[in-house]
Subunit: 270 residues, 2 copies
């Protein structure tokens, strides 16, 4: 699995809970993070490089743990990779559709919202569904700064972003960025108990398990799965900050240069 | 000149005011922005690639418009480039030393503060000077989101970052990131009229003029200098958002891939 940085470790956490026997290889592109403020064509190129690097490990599946990369590049990755590719957008949209018959709110990065990927995934299943999309550019840096959920600045920024959604009272709210589950308590308090929050990380883990089961590829061991991490920036920093996202110590973190990712792309088959 | 993104256009603005006849080539590495949250070794690699690309234009000087890149890589760039290299840190530190005999405050990115570059530049000139350094990770994304200086969130975040500096009352405060001049009114109000703000962008422009004059290389024309911009992400987006930073329309913006920057590095002499 890959992500623009550390956020995808929230998907690792869910995936490990759902399938504790699986061996995971995680790539966090922390040298080029964030993806969410960049153009879709640049994110497509980065995503293809990231997937090419992972393809070298011959995994049974590649999971795009990053919402922005899922939104920008899932079609391209499915076309270019030999193994199945899972994203976080479609499971998130499906989980929200299952949670409510009413309007669906979406919080995500600028690029994810601009791509229209959540909107399309929801409307493909139900063309009459109202979708309320809101981009939240400050939430990723706020989470990365390590502020607590009850920090006055966190509440102030969230109140600003959620104003229209509080009025509209959607039937469910998708946390459409891997960083946002770390703010779910604060978001939940502001939206109230009548608005269920849908974590695309959790929905994606359920979907990955289902797809692997359909292919008869689930490792049934109840424990013992390993986690090997790669980062394009400093490995020590990744290990230190990643603990918060992954909820556990990261034992194995290795550096890989972005030039190596570009090199893998050149050797990707097809 | 180069910068991690759009912020360096504030240096373009100052440079054009000081030397309106000069032709400028600007590289904004918007595909990998921001540099300020990344490790010093990654920033050094990016900075060297950026400078290598610019060296291809055979300029009479390379200006590192990015504080983080200046802090991380000026020694390396001076060693590796054939032309003179100017940074924004040393001029900013010198201007602050000239502005006050008292303590000096520094606002900058995480990486710039962690590098200790401003602290070293000030203490090299005056070992007894007190330096109060404060990293402000949210200010770059806040400026890039386009919030006004009187936006309540901007004031709330600034109040949080400036709390200790307001108490300490330094004799001058360095705005040690190219984005921060866009918040100078709000910062000035919070610090009060007794604390002069030193823009490293302005100080760098003065220093560049002085160094070019010493080399007898100033173009004396009172007008007519051109500006050619390159961006590693979307050119249209760069032109649209860049106007705010540069204070003028950007007529010529071209795309250059980060793979081309890496390629230039391989061909850099010495």
């Amino acid at each position: 699995m890959f992500d623009s940085g550390l956020g995808g470790l929230t998907v690792v956490r869910e995936l490990t809970a759902a399938m504790p026997g699986e061996d995971l290889v995680y790539l966090g592109d922390t040298a080029r993070v964030p993806y969410g403020i960049k153009s879709l064509q640049t994110v497509r190129r980065f995503a293809l490089e990231d997937a090419s690097f992972l393809a070298g490990f011959e995994p049974k599946m590649i999971v795009v743990a990053c919402n922005t990369a899922s939104a920008a590049a899932i079609d391209l990755l499915e076309q270019r990779c030999e193994m199945p590719v899972a994203d976080v957008i479609r499971p998130g949209a499906a989980a929200a559709l299952a949670a409510t018959g009413g309007a669906i709110g979406v919080l995500a990065t600028e690029a994810t919202i601009a791509s229209g990927a959540y909107q399309r995934a929801i409307l493909a299943a139900d063309p009459d569904r109202q979708v309320l999309a809101r981009s939240c550019p400050l939430l990723v840096p706020i989470v990365e700064e390590g502020r607590a959920q009850d920090d006055p600045i966190v509440l102030h920024v969230l109140t600003d972003y959620l104003r229209d959604l509080q009025r509209a009272r959607p039937g469910a709210l998708i946390l459409g960025c891997t960083h946002y589950p770390l703010l779910s308590e604060a978001i939940g308090k502001l939206m109230g108990p009548h608005v269920p929050l849908v974590s695309s990380a959790q929905a994606a883990a359920v979907e990955v398990r289902k797809r692997l089961a359909a292919l008869d590829l689930v490792n049934p061991l109840p424990t013992g799965g390993t986690l090997r991490c790669f980062t394009t920036d400093n490995a020590e920093r990744f290990a230190r900050l990643g603990e918060r996202f992954g909820g556990r110590r990261l034992e194995s973190v290795e550096y890989v240069g972005t030039d190596e990712l570009e090199q893998s792309l050149r050797t990707l088959t097809r």
